[in-house]
């Protein structure tokens, strides 16, 4: 269900190209927004339960329908969402009000646009760009502008610290992430996500699926660099220094409450989905089945894609509830002195590999 497909379909009805385009965008945008909200709700619930089980707690319970009440707390996120919506939306008196109000939207736009290019299955993708990878990386960095705006306009020192840390971190980690996503681009010879995924069909020696991660040692390494950088880009532990609770109270979100804060939350989980989606599409075979030649229909494709994405999101949660937090300079050290050289070396290695082995 791409925008192009809808535009073409409208063209068969009549000649109204601009209106057709707007309609197509709206029709494909609304489910995307619903997906974003659903993703945040499920992920928040999952995060709470996963963290609870990891910490030897019970987690949310009590809110839920019928028999489940008292055990699983299935409606906990609904309760949370309602609470956030009816909460007072405070704006600090001495804040820069325009920027303060604008920041959540910018962050939201960054997260939302990235979702548009995520290839959920072979036919389910809102916009099938020929530069999909490039596009996701590019819109992914819009969010940092919003974060700086939020931090600056709050007129709060904690927010400012959080924003500055966040800017430094996200911009730095985009480099290793970008350098390692070049590896699948080199392997597949395209930036189009669908073509990239199709490149990963078949199997290696009849056992392993022909995913880029298994293609050669360099791609294997590249995946881990990309994934760790992606964790850093989404500001999650152990790289959550912009909102380090024990140091900066809540970092750049300190002054936000109610719905605006909820938008930040929505964007954070949506960003996790996007970067995991990119990692899956680039390295883990996208919607390809892990058993080559079996369960290959588009429906299964959606299942495999979401399964892999959810697994990666689970790994991020696992990180969060296991690791302590890095310090700012250590974070930069890891990025500039470890990841970037390895990522550069990877590009070189993949180039040689392609030249010699093919």
């Amino acid at each position: 269900m791409t925008v192009d497909f809808l535009v073409d379909w409208f063209a068969t009805i009549g000649d109204f190209p601009i209106l057709a385009f707007i309609l197509a965008v709206i029709i494909s945008g609304i489910p995307l927004f619903l997906l974003m909200a659903l993703n945040a709700m499920v992920a928040v619930y999952a995060e709470r339960k996963v963290s609870a089980f990891m910490m030897d707690r019970i987690g949310p319970m009590g809110q839920g329908p019928g028999l489940h009440a008292g055990k699983w707390g299935l409606l906990q996120t609904v309760a949370d969402a309602i609470k956030l919506l009816v909460k007072e939306d405070t704006i600090p008196q001495k804040s820069d009000k325009l920027l303060f109000k604008m920041a959540p939207f910018i962050i939201f736009i960054g997260a939302f646009l990235g979702l548009a290019a995520v290839p959920f299955s072979s036919s389910l993708q809102v916009a099938d760009f020929n530069v999909g990878v490039f596009y996701i990386i590019a819109v992914g960095s819009i969010g940092v502008i919003g974060i700086i705006m939020a931090g600056w306009s709050s007129n709060n020192k904690w927010s400012l610290y959080g924003a500055m840390r966040s800017a430094a971190q996200i911009i730095s980690y985009e480099i290793p992430a970008g350098l390692s996503i070049i590896v699948p681009i080199m392997m597949a010879g395209t930036m189009n996500l669908q073509t990239m995924i199709q490149f990963q069909s078949g199997s290696i020696w009849g056992i392993l699926p022909n995913w880029i991660i298994f293609n050669n040692p360099f791609t294997f390494l590249a995946f881990f660099i990309f994934f760790i950088s992606a964790v850093a880009e989404t500001n999650r532990t152990p790289f959550d220094i912009p909102e380090a609770e024990s140091e900066l109270v809540a970092g750049w979100m300190t002054e936000y409450s109610g719905f605006r804060w909820a938008v930040f939350f929505l964007s954070e989980y949506s960003n996790m989905l996007v970067v995991s989606g990119l990692a899956v599409a680039g390295f883990l075979g996208g919607w390809q089945s892990p058993i080559p030649g079996m369960f290959d229909s588009p429906g299964w494709g959606l299942f495999w894609f979401m399964g892999k994405v959810i697994f990666l999101i689970f790994v991020m949660m696992w990180f969060r509830w296991t690791f302590p937090r890095l310090r700012v300079d250590q974070l930069m050290h890891v990025c500039w002195k470890v990841f970037i050289p390895i990522a550069m070396f990877n590009i070189f290695g993949v180039g040689i590999w392609k030249l010699i082995i093919g």
Partner: protein, 372 residues
Amino acid sequence: MGVVQGDQMVLNIGPQHPSTHGVLRLEVMTDGEIVSEIKPHLGYLHRCFEKHSENVTYEQVIPFTDRCDYLASMNSNFGYVVAMEELMEIKVPDRVEYIRIIMGELNRVASHLLALGVYGLDIGAFTPFLYMLRDRERILDMFEYTCGARLLYNYMWVGGVSHDLPKDFEKICFGFLDYFEPQIDEYNNLLTYNKIFVERTADVGVIPADVAISYGVSGPNLRGSGVNWDVRKDESYSIYDRFEFDVPVGDGKFGTLGDCFDRYWVRMLEIKESVKIIRQALKDIPSGDVHQALPKKIRPPKGSVYRRTESPRGDLGYYIISDGSPVPSRVKMRSPAFTALSCLDEVSKGWMISDVIAILGSLDIVLGEIDR
């Protein structure tokens, strides 16, 4: 290359902040992330402990001592009653001494568990905190079973303890220790040997031994700097001389001697030593009456006493002046956390804001005791 010098910014950490361990306010001068000066502002939790004590009878001071170091109330009680008994020259029955030591050491374990867990939380690791609280909970359950209270016990009285141990306390306590000792390895695997944790704590906030001594830092913080000083051993009180235990001393395991990791690690080792003491005490505990030496009305002779004891935070000293009346003329508490906090400024200079939080956490301060 020259150092870029920016404007200094004053940053107020606290009094409401997630990791000031209470209501401490730090006025921090920062240049970007780098801290150049820290001024701690105390008194947000001041409850006039010492002045109050001058207006109540000697027994009535004990509940106040609970509320000073609320994470190790047993040890606060312990210090006070030991000082009082020294002033009055009372000899308490052996069973009372054993019970006090068991309770004191259990509370030391509980206090250290919280200190280590919260330290993990300061560094950003959430899970170890809850694991340690889970095990601390079982110690509190045992206290509740013994004296009815979970946090502020008022358990040790001058000349005795308020309640005898329940009949099956030994069984429960041994059961807990058998469960607890393997848990220490779990904490170590989860937090202590974590690469990120070591990076964050090793070489950070080094307190050299001479600095520690000149500031009067004591307890695990002093031992973390490599000084072998433990009141239980060096100025033994109660019946600590009957037990075999080691005094763990920092050795710069992953970095410099006296860094945050050493202070953390000394506490972890001390938990093991405390378990050792509790096991010995539970094995040898004699039977008898715990109220035998309990005087009806306390009226110490004229005079004064200073007695220090080893609380989980260090040298906890009580200076008591008696004028012969049932009301103390003066009670002074020498708070170990207060002296530990005093060296924060010198130790934190030049480190980052994240490190200040790490250093503050490694000193394991309790604001109730600092402000009194």
